[in-house]
């Protein structure tokens, strides 16, 4: 069942090769101003007002900085988790299959001994 193992490696490599440059481009691109920077009454600094910035407005701005969600990282994480799940399933299937095949070989040998045949389990 090495073909399944190879298949998963190919998929992981393909994901990284495809999305790596895309994520890198996103990371190096200048950050778009957050929506909160729009000139609104809730954001006096962005509106160009010379009035001192209130504590609540500062808190709001810091929250916006924290709330910037890295889309590329999330996308890469989603794809990696998906392939990890599939890899786990394939790995478990391969282990179970190896166990069953070993059991069948053992059984075949036992049958051959019993019947006196040369036997061919495959």
């Amino acid at each position: 069942m090495s073909h399944l193992r190879a298949a998963l490696l190919r998929l992981t490599a393909a994901t990284l090769l495809s999305f790596g440059p895309v994520c890198a481009a996103e990371a190096s691109a200048p950050a778009a101003p957050p929506a909160a920077a729009a000139p609104t009454s809730a954001n006096p600094t962005a509106a160009g007002a010379s009035a001192p910035v209130s504590t609540s407005a500062k808190r709001d701005l810091s929250r916006y900085k924290e709330e910037r969600v890295p889309g590329g990282t999330f996308m890469l994480a989603a794809y990696m988790v998906m392939w990890a799940l599939v890899a786990g399933f394939v790995g478990r299937t391969l282990l179970r299959q190896a166990k069953v095949e070993a059991e069948l070989t053992d059984l075949s040998e036992r049958v051959d001994v019993l019947t006196g045949h040369d036997g061919d389990a495959t």
């Binding site: 889309g71 590329g72 994480a77 794809y79 299937t93 075949s108 049958v111």
Partner: protein
């Protein structure tokens, strides 16, 4: 069908021994252990489709204005959802068939589909929240489609756990099949959840479709790639379960043979 295990201590008059096959033992050892060529072809096709889809998504599809790159989760998220719904619905019908008319092949196929369905359900339940974090500002919300998907996944996991714990038990098999039958109506409810009960989950396909040509191509490549990959995984697991069933049959045959020899 589950075959009862006969140990050398089984009574010679037991019904299990009477039911044991009387064919020559050597015949039962003819098990095709080699991987079938059709399975390799299916796997190759699915991998090719997935690789092209990945390239298309990365190189050709535009990023969403609002969601940015996280929108690209959509292609494989929806493809996984298609695979999950198809797997669970098929498992449901096969389980019903197995309940009405017990058949080893239907049971093995239903079990394989259920396991692959759970894998894709877990893919949805992990990729969805990562997308939702960017789109909705939160990882999870108890809206109808998400909640139903979680419940159906838990149901499928419980069936798999039940089958794993009950091993060769006929009762475990029947109870598991009865639980798995719920997969088809539950999948239908997931499909219509947003339409019937509302919720925040977007309806791209039912709600107007994808407008951008490159996005549409990437989407269908991912869907067909994942569906064929799901088929290849199911076939691999099915083969594993069938080999296990044959191993059980050989063991039963062997035990019966040894018992008959001892009696003689």
């Amino acid at each position: 069908m589950t075959t009862p295990t006969i140990s050398p201590t089984t009574s010679p008059e037991s019904p299990e021994l009477a039911a044991a096959p009387r064919a020559p033992v050597a015949m039962a050892t003819r098990v095709p252990v080699r991987t079938p060529a059709a399975l390799l072809v299916l796997l190759g096709v699915s991998l090719a489709l997935i690789e092209v889809a990945l390239w298309w998504i990365a190189a050709r599809t535009p990023s969403d204005i609002v969601l940015g790159l996280s929108q690209k989760i959509f292609y494989f998220h929806v493809g996984s959802a298609f695979a999950m719904l198809l797997c669970l619905t098929s498992a449901s019908f096969l389980s019903l068939a197995d309940l009405l008319r017990p058949d080893d092949r239907a049971d093995a196929l239903a079990q394989s589909l259920l396991e692959v369905g759970v894998i894709f359900a877990l893919c949805i339940l992990t990729s969805g929240p990562l997308w939702a974090r960017k789109a909705w500002g939160m990882y999870w919300t108890w809206e109808p489609r998400l909640t139903l998907t979680l419940l159906v996944t838990l149901l499928a996991v419980s069936v798999i756990a039940l089958r794993a714990m009950s091993a060769d038990s006929g009762t475990g098999r029947r109870v598991g099949a009865a639980m798995a039958v719920m997969g088809a109506p539950a999948s239908y409810l997931i499909h219509v959840a947003v339409k019937w009960w509302g919720g925040t989950h977007p309806q791209v396909i039912q709600g107007g479709g994808i407008q951008n040509a490159d996005m549409r191509i990437a989407f269908w490549l991912a869907v067909f790639g994942l569906l064929t990959f799901a088929a290849a995984l199911t076939a691999t697991r099915y083969r594993d379960l069938r080999l296990k069933q044959r191993g059980r049959a050989i063991r039963l045959n062997l035990s019966a043979h040894q018992l008959r020899q001892r009696r003689a």
